[in-house]
Point group: C2
Chain length 388, copies 2
């Protein structure tokens, strides 16, 4: 096992009807003036907005609002929120939404206590030294942003989508009420499941040896999510399935599976997907369903025993050779993604084939990516072609 | 899934040679005067004492010492430490050891900022309102006290061994160097494995339904520990096995497996074992190896599907009926404990048979125990007799 530090101080308050507890958490944290950050209007339809505002009012907590955060969140919107926080001297952010809103809140939390432009953090021109506290009210489970310290943001002018990680960006408190997710669309629910599975696998397949416990956790999570997705497809209002998936998605990227790994995951597939999202605003989960199996096929020779083990333990494949089992497992995963109605070919996502070389160049603009297998531009291009 | 709160802010610094990092962690936390709390002399033999003191000296951190904490730690020793902290105005505790020392540190941390007697917390006469920060330097892995908020202490005058849980008692930072555990005795290592398995199972078998992810985690942990113990018996200096067990033991009782459970575990077997330890100073792990299988046999009819699932997934039992599989699994577990050289009968531990009724009365002195199956005095007596 490699040396590591494990630290995750986010308090998770989980269950039916927990959102009004936000007010107590804010009061406990000495917070009295907040920015409500959210996306479109769905929180008005689901009643989440009323629950949150009611709780704030009952505790006389002053709030300002910033709405309109979109999927693949953009820095221009985040800058707008920073302005509002600075102008109104707010002391915390309440992020109501899923990964896009919570990722945005992290950049905004750091940007609000910084004199320069917040993109500096993402461009690695400045390091986060302080950040406002974040309270997350989760309305869609997928990214685990509600219990980790990573933010992914798109700079529309530069056409870059990049990540930022810093311990100061852990939400102080996260409230998860699975019942408000009954109305999350089938497509978004399935994409969330794909995202969570890929989070687990990008750590699982990083080539690290001797991490038996972490491998057991990862396999258990993937088996659970594979079992849950068809239930949620058929019964979007199954509380227990929503709850189990919400907790699985959090565990998929809150540190549980990566302790003792030399990297915090491989994340080549995420990097390739981010380039597609930056250029075509592609849905995050759909970039992964197309790319992840192609990456696995390309990289599996670097660690065939682990790919074979995954196939056996998750899909019960029993072909006679290790390689056959490994490849069969990859096909099973691809088949599972397809069974959820997700695209498993970039060609089906409206991405022009002629763009692939330019996309591969963009992915590797700062040098090769990947840890299991180092990927140069030419490797990324081959994966894109195989995924096409 | 039941409603729950998950919160575990302990920072874990894990790896070979990490103990000197303690000084940085203390400095980061603004700590300048500490109490070093430890047990017998083993930390002098292993060089851990020198590593810690060297680090403190290099950062000009003032320290006082309190040595002699024993297994099944007693409140009289803890009171002594509280006196030293109050007299010398110390601002943190550095607990060097395993569960006994870290459990003691928790009581001491609360007692040092309290005007009354620290046993009040354990006797439920007072609630912990504040506590000094605790830094744990782990020399033996078993109890997970290094990453949870529970302390178990014995009051020798009253003959009680009881637990205390409070969020303020989480260690602020825990340093784990598996290589210093090469010299932990075979007996203590095996007892640690038994303790960790029982921690997992007392949550797993609490009767809660629909916790697929938590069940997957629990099964993975138990399979891992069962695989690791024989390796550690044969090769006590296998770094990777020590590291994996150290992390497994932490995960067995740091909240990972109990999220979403209605209780924080069943813990009837622990309660019965604590009575034996309070009366005969019995080794904690050995009370469990004798009692846990007997409890399982007594309680399994309350949730046969889970006991059968455990048997199948951990021991691969394939008897035709659910009940047969469940019972076979219990026998496998008992056989595994015996294979580690642990006692699986109270009669082998020198406990007089005539004492059993009195012991059962002590276990249930505050009323029935247990959540899967409520145990009255007569039930506890039957389990003791079956374990005899």
């Amino acid at each position: 096992m490699y040396d590591f530090t494990f630290y995750n101080p986010t308090r998770v308050v989980f269950g039916r009807g927990v959102f009004p507890k936000l007010a107590d958490e804010l009061a406990k944290g000495g917070v009295s003036r907040v920015l409500l950050l959210y996306g479109g209007g769905s929180i008005h339809k689901t009643g989440v907005y009323e629950q949150v505002v009611g709780a704030l009012n009952s505790h006389d907590i002053v709030f300002f609002e910033c709405a309109g955060v979109k999927a693949n969140p953009v820095v221009s919107k985040a800058r707008e929120a920073v302005e509002a926080i600075k102008a109104n001297k707010l002391d915390a952010i309440v992020a109501i939404g899923g990964g896009s809103v919570i990722d945005s809140a992290k950049g905004i939390a750091a940007g609000s206590l910084y004199d320069g432009d917040m993109w500096d953090f993402y461009a690695r021109k400045a390091k986060v030294e302080k950040a406002l506290p974040i309270y997350a009210v989760v309305t869609v489970s997928a990214t685990a942003s509600e219990m980790n310290y990573t933010s992914v943001m798109t700079n529309e002018e530069l056409g870059h989508k990049v990540g930022l990680s810093n311990e100061l960006l852990y939400p102080r408190c996260t409230l998860i009420d699975p019942s408000v997710q009954f109305s999350v669309s089938e497509r978004q629910t399935m994409d969330g499941g794909i995202d969570a599975i890929c989070h687990v696998l990008e750590t699982y397949f990083d080539g690290a040896k001797g991490l038996e416990i972490q491998k057991e956790y990862a396999e258990g999570l993937v088996r659970s999510i594979i079992r849950l997705m068809p239930i949620l497809r058929a019964h979007p209002d199954d509380y227990d399935a929503r709850a189990q998936f919400a907790w699985a998605a959090v565990n998929a990227l809150n540190g549980t599976t990566w302790a003792g790994h030399p990297t915090r995951g491989e994340f080549s597939s995420h990097a390739m997907g981010h380039t597609l999202s930056a250029k075509y605003d592609s849905i995050h989960g759909e970039t992964l369903s197309a790319i992840m199996p192609a990456w696995m096929k390309y990289a599996c020779r670097e660690d065939m025993p682990t790919f074979a083990r995954f196939a056996e333990r998750v899909f019960g494949t029993n072909e006679s050779s290790e390689e056959e089992r490994a490849l069969a497992g990859i096909e099973c995963l691809k088949g599972f993604f397809a069974s959820l109605g997700a695209p498993v070919a970039l060609g089906d996502m409206g991405i022009p084939k002629a763009d692939l070389p330019e996309l591969a160049a963009h992915v590797t603009r700062n040098g090769p990516i990947g840890s299991l297998k180092k990927l140069e531009m030419v490797d990324v291009l081959k994966i894109f072609e195989s995924a096409y």
